[in-house]
């Protein structure tokens, strides 16, 4: 059998017709816009949330395809910037909120202030999350949702130790943690590891005491670091806290090695799965009646400069997600608090475990409020001081004085 058809039966004009129709078909397929979203979400709940949103959005916008690309947490910023540098930017990057203004400085992010101004949810966004994405008049993204820190307590251990309510003040925290410590169980656990996690976990104590990372030689910084040092030196917190990231911290709590932990809402799912009986309460404050001030976590949908058609599709996607019902569903699957006040209120009313986080949202602060685009360097200096003090390498005063000296030129530069 000859594979090639005899030339007579397939004249040139027909071949041309076939070819051109194929090209037209390909062209039609190309008319579809692909919105690539880079992110580092890897918890099953979060992935389900993203998949749902993708399905809904693609159904409503058949000409736009969403493509999620996973990048490990540590590489997200550098990869985003790299992709932009070689003119293949993703449409959207889900950047951690303290990094947004820093990345914006490189000029890869699109100012979407005109689009967000029209969104009803933007007017209702808490000041903290708003601050983290705004530089002057410019807006570089819309928060996916927020998270922060609170105290998780093991109910059984607390009642066994005769404690009726989880600690509300620093004094109660110190006393309760000591009471709950019975070898091999520690009263409390937090993360003081050599990454951003330790600064982030210390900030609620520093800020609730009225302190600032930009003024580490002041009294609130000394008092709040002394609180941590005392907890560790009394043995209420394991010395290994300097090596534990937040995943390790949660494991300690879940496996019953610690009675209380400093943790955020994204761990709720995992703690629930363990079947542990626990409750969540706000961060203890220095004196009764004061308001806790916690740092804000959470990622931001940031649109990258590129093909105008893709940019428009990306903005469309973000607007789609800002629908308050969709936002509530997404934040609930993420175990995040919505950055939009009305949505967050609803979440808190429906779920008592989220309520402490919702209540803290009004006073919560964006981390770049201290140091702006230099926040990462400020944080590095602060966490070195934290580690030096709690490992006994330096006194609280000396460690903080050293860090304050490093931060001073950074704060001036902005």
């Amino acid at each position: 059998m000859p594979l090639k058809p005899p030339s007579g039966t397939f004249p040139l004009w027909r071949r041309l017709l076939v070819c051109s129709s194929i090209i037209v078909c390909l062209g039609a397929a190309r008319a579809e816009t692909t919105v690539e979203i880079v992110h580092y979400f890897n918890v099953p709940g979060q992935l389900d949330g993203l998949a749902d949103i993708q399905k809904d959005f693609e159904a409503a916008n058949p000409d736009i395809k969403i493509k999620f690309t996973y990048i490990p947490f540590a590489e997200l910023v550098s990869r985003t910037v790299q992709m932009a540098a070689v003119h293949k930017p993703p449409a959207i990057s889900c950047i951690d909120n303290p990094d947004v203004r820093y990345v914006a400085k490189s000029g890869v992010l699109k100012d979407i202030s005109a689009s967000v101004a029209k969104l009803p949810t933007w007017q209702d966004t808490y000041p903290g999350p708003k601050h983290s994405v705004t530089e002057g008049e410019k807006v570089f993204g819309v928060p996916i949702g927020s998270n922060s820190l609170a105290i998780f307590s093991n109910k059984k251990m607390l009642s066994d130790a005769g404690i009726t309510d989880p600690p509300k003040t620093w004094d109660e925290l110190t006393a309760d943690a000591a009471k709950l410590t019975k070898s091999p169980v520690y009263g409390l656990v937090f993360s003081a590891t050599n990454t951003e996690e330790s600064t982030w976990q210390w900030e609620p104590f520093l800020w609730s005491d009225g302190g600032s990372l930009l003024d580490l030689s002041a009294a609130p910084a000394k008092q709040s670091l002394q609180l941590w040092v005392d907890l560790i030196q009394k043995g209420s917190v394991s010395k290994d806290a300097v090596n534990w990231n937040q995943g390790d911290v949660a494991n300690q709590f879940i496996s019953g090695q610690a009675a209380m932990m400093v943790m955020g809402p994204w761990m709720l799912g995992q703690v629930h799965k363990s079947g542990l009986d626990f409750e969540v309460t706000p961060i203890p404050v220095p004196k009764e009646g004061e308001k806790p001030v916690v740092p804000l976590g959470g990622e931001v949908w940031c649109v990258l400069k590129g093909d105008p058609k893709v940019e428009a599709a990306a903005v469309k996607f973000i607007e789609f997600v800002q629908d308050s019902d969709r936002l509530e569903k997404l934040c609930n699957t993420f175990n995040y608090i919505s950055s939009v006040r009305s949505v967050a209120k609803k979440q808190g009313e429906a779920n008592p475990e989220l309520q402490p986080f919702v209540l803290q949202m009004d006073t919560a602060r964006a981390r770049p409020e201290e140091g702006g685009a230099n926040y990462t360097k400020v944080s590095l200096a602060a966490r070195t001081a934290i580690q030096q003090a709690i490992t006994g390498q330096a006194t609280v005063d000396a460690a903080l004085a050293d860090a304050a000296a490093k931060i001073k030129p950074l704060a001036a530069k902005k």
Binding site: V108, K239, Q393
Partner: protein, 313 residues
Amino acid sequence: MRQLEAIRARGATAPEAGGRATPRRRAAWRTALSSYSFILPITIFGLFLLVYPVLYSLALSFRDATVETFVGGDMPFVGLSNYEQILASSTFWQALENTVVFTFCSILFQFAIGFLLALFFQNRFPLKNVLIALLLIPWIAPVLTAANTFKGLFNEVGPINQIAHLLGIPTVPWLASPGFALAATIVANIWIGFPFNFILLYSGVCNVPPEIYEAARIDGASYWRRVAHITLPILKPVTVAVLMLGTIYTVKVFDLVWIMTGGGPANTSHLLSTYAYQVGFSILNFGQAAAIATVIVALILSLNLFQLVLQRR
């Protein structure tokens, strides 16, 4: 070069079908071309994946490369400024010192343990091959697994401290104390690396002709004399290779320390590799990270040169 000339000469003298001068030269050229085409893949591979990144990293180390300057591509040339800033940071010197201590202690113990085991396995005994296979497990185990296991072992309330407590030895929070964190990572690295030393030295030991030992024994040489004057000298080439490879592997260790301590507490257990990673990916100062990487490359190259000289002698 000499080989190529030989090939060309062979091509020139080879019998040809045409018999005329031009085809002969063309055939020679073709032979040379096909010879070059054999080394083409490795040359391209080397240029793109080895030479280019190293040169790029070197170039980056002289530029102000941060997230801000990276995208515009206008990373300004800043001369030695990155190096000045690196050399002025106490963490860098701590990391350099740690790298030297880490490498020296790891290699010393890995080699000593590997060598003693190789000597032991010179004897014949039952289950010998099974034991050899078992000894290779640390080398096969993924570093991720090993590092997390050791992180657990060195935990403040982990097995090591529990045993010490039972024996009445005062315990330390290994990974949480500035004085012991590096030591703990060295212990873990020795465990990971000794099988590599052992297996190479063992194969070397197996190649020592038994007659030499026989003769020495007849002459009345004691066991350790035989080891010192027969085994060690014969093993010299293997030893140099083992030490060289071991040193290169150890200077660039990253994952183990990153997982066990993250360079902490308070930056006391940073190696140059983990410090470079922190500067590059956490502080996002690519220029300074490249400067540290250049120091690592220079360190490894100078060690290589030193060992090549040793090998020549």
